[in-house]
Structures are given as structure tokens and as C-alpha cells.
């Protein structure tokens, strides 16, 4: 598989995650920041290699083989992210683009040894689960503050929008990665949320609430 094929397979995986329907050409083009015509070309190639099911005009979905390839790439991506943050001291919002490159390094032994070296982590620095070597992982336990019910608590593991303005807001309110946060109240009218942080109780707007991810315990 070429680097580009790997990125397409990964994009298709992420787009079909959750949903059951086939993924559309335009959706892939948007995700990959490329043109629909290029996507059609690539889809044909992936179909030829039995990585996707493809019916003209009917969208695309991963085969068994495509799905396990996607999981292998995601495993590499997230293990490298852990390495960058834990060992090289990168900030969690700097590692994605580097891991986007490292995920394509070809050596099974390298990933096995990296996994051992990192202590076989189960989640990456953004709270996303790391698939095991055979492609299994706990279903995502990462939720937006806006999706959680009153009373729910969790560990802050990431943001949707990592703009400077938003990160500044978190800083000002002393919210950091790893902090435990609890939802005290939700205002139905405007979607604002009353949040208990490690330092204070604050009220955040619905925009903020739908940008902040918490890792919550399994049964939420």
C-alpha cells in the first residue's frame, strides 16, 4: 500500500465509523482536502485491490482487509502520538501532523517494540483508543461536554477546535489536559453548562461545551 492509499483508507474508516451507510465520494474529498474526481480514481484502485466495496454512484465501504489495514495505521498513528508526548515532551496539540507522517513507516517489528517501550498504552494523548495488534479496542469513551448529562464527570482529554483563542480561554479558566471536570447544570435555553473544574465553578457557553472532550467511564 502506498502512503496515499493508506491515507484514503484511514479517511474512509473515520467517515464510516458509527454510521452504517456507504461513504460518499464528496465526503471523502472534503476529508482529504482533494477533488471528487481524484477520489473516484483512487477508489477504483482500492477496489481493484479489494480494500473497499465500490458500486458506481453508490459510495464506498471498507472490506475486512481494508478495515484491518485502517486499524493498523490508526494504531501506528496513536502509538507515535503517545511517544511524541510522553517521551519527547511535545504538547498534545502539536503531534497530529508529525504522526500523520510517522504512521506510514513500514516495519512491524518497529511498532511492536515501540508499543512495548511505551508500556502498551490503551489511549492516545487525545483520549482516543489505540487498537491492539489484532485490531481490537474499547469503543470510544470520549464525549463532548455538550453531549453529557447533568452529573457526569470525566477527564479533559482534548478539544475539537485548537485555535489560539480557544486554548487561551482554557488557560484563563485554568482548564488543562488531565483535569477532572463535572457537569453541574445545563441550561436548556442556550445550551450553556455549569462546570466544576479543579479550581472553581464556571459557566461555559454551548460553543465551548461542544469543543471540549471528556473521557468518561464506560457506562456513560
Amino acid at each position: 500500500m502506498t502512503l496515499s492509499e493508506e491515507d484514503y483508507i484511514k479517511a474512509i474508516y473515520h467517515l464510516s465509523k458509527g454510521k452504517t451507510a456507504a461513504v460518499s465520494t464528496n465526503a471523502i474529498a472534503a476529508q482529504m482536502d482533494t477533488k471528487p474526481s481524484s477520489v473516484t480514481d483512487m477508489i477504483k484502485k482500492l477496489s481493484e485491490k479489494n480494500l473497499v466495496f465500490y458500486k458506481k454512484y453508490k459510495g464506498v465501504s471498507l472490506t475486512e482487509s481494508g478495515s484491518s489495514s485502517a486499524l493498523a495505521i490508526i494504531r501506528k498513528h496513536r502509538l507515535w502520538e503517545v511517544f511524541l508526548v510522553e517521551k519527547l515532551d511535545f504538547a498534545w496539540d502539536e503531534v497530529h501532523s508529525i504522526a500523520e507522517q510517522l504512521e506510514h513507516i513500514k516495519s512491524e517489528k518497529l511498532i511492536d517494540k515501540l508499543d512495548v517501550y511505551l508500556g502498551s498504552p490503551k489511549v492516545d494523548p487525545h483520549g482516543d483508543p489505540i487498537p491492539s495488534k489484532d485490531g481490537k479496542f474499547k469503543k470510544s469513551i470520549k464525549k463532548l461536554v455538550s453531549e453529557l448529562p447533568i452529573g457526569a464527570a470525566g477527564i479533559c482529554v482534548g478539544v475539537n477546535d485548537s485555535s489560539a483563542a480557544f486554548l487561551k480561554f482554557l488557560d484563563k479558566n485554568k482548564i488543562a489536559l488531565g483535569d477532572t471536570l463535572q457537569i453541574l447544570d445545563k441550561e436548556e435555553f442556550d445550551g450553556s453548562v455549569q462546570l466544576k473544574t479543579s479550581h472553581a465553578t464556571i459557566r461555559i457557553s454551548s460553543q465551548i461545551a461542544s469543543n471540549l472532550f471528556l473521557e468518561v467511564s464506560e457506562n456513560q
Copy 2:
């Protein structure tokens, strides 16, 4: 610079190291395991980008810019090799092909942090020097046993030929990476060498002697 351009620049660097003459098209083709016509094509592109001096039929040599690019890639290659051996516990003869991929990852910050994490090593696992960020390094102090005079001693840092047969020979004679070896005598007739190892005094053939690298102190 593309991955392929980087590999060509590195090959030209290695081929012109030591020698003053320009590097020939055929030499590059042999080193890169490709065809001379492909080399000519690539050389034109590199020349266009001012990475090499090129005169038709007269060979090629690196410009200042080409040379510093080569050193940056070599720095990355060797730092990753140190990482693989020191941190991931790879054997020194397994790391080259993986580093051949890792050397192309683009992120200055990544290499700076990797360097710090490894304690700014000065040599790679094969005894080759690691250029500093600004492209400086001690000239190679790695010599073949066959090139050294009687009396010289050094640390075993590598082999030319890593065939199973040769590695088996080293194993049988209890010669390992990091061992100190000393040349006790050289036979002019057949080039064989009497060698003091950590465990015994042995006689090695000229083939062996020209396959075994020692790191010797600067003034040898």
C-alpha cells in the same frame, strides 16, 4: 525536497566523501540501484534547484546548499539509528533500513527534541559520527582492521558485510560490538592479522580484516 531527491543528495554526498573529483552518473546509479538514465533525469532536477553543480558528461558535485541538505538528512538517519538501538533495543545491524525511512520525516522540532532525548550522541550505532545541527562533525575515526598499523587498538563498531556467515564467525570468536581489539601483527604475504580480543589472541584472514571496523582515537 522530495523523498527521492533526498536519497540522491545523500548518495552523492557519500560518493564524493573523501575524493575531490566529481561523481559519475554510473556510480550514482550503482549506489541507488537504479538506471543511469534515471540518474541523468534526477541530476537535471537537482541542478535546477541549485543542489548540485552539473556539466553534461562531466559528473556532478554538491553545492553548499546540497551539502548542508545531505548533512541534515544524515543527522536524522543516525539519530534515529541511535533511538532504535538505545531505546527500542534493536540490534545494530537491523536499524539501517528503518532509519532509511525515518530520515525523511519532516519536522525540525522533532529532530531537536529527539537529539535532546538521546543526550546529543556524537556517533551512531555503527561508529559513524552524527553531524551537529549546523552540519559540523569530527572527521570519521572509523577504520577497517586491514587499514590499521601494527599496535593500533580500537573499539569494534561495525562490519562491512553483515552476512549471516560473517556474523557467525564473529560470534564463534566472541567478538561483539563495543569490544576493544588490538592489532598485534600483520602478515605481509597474505594480509592476515594477529588480533588480541577480549578473550584470546586469534589470527584472522585478510577478508575478515577488511570487513571489520574499529573506532580508533583521533590521531591514528
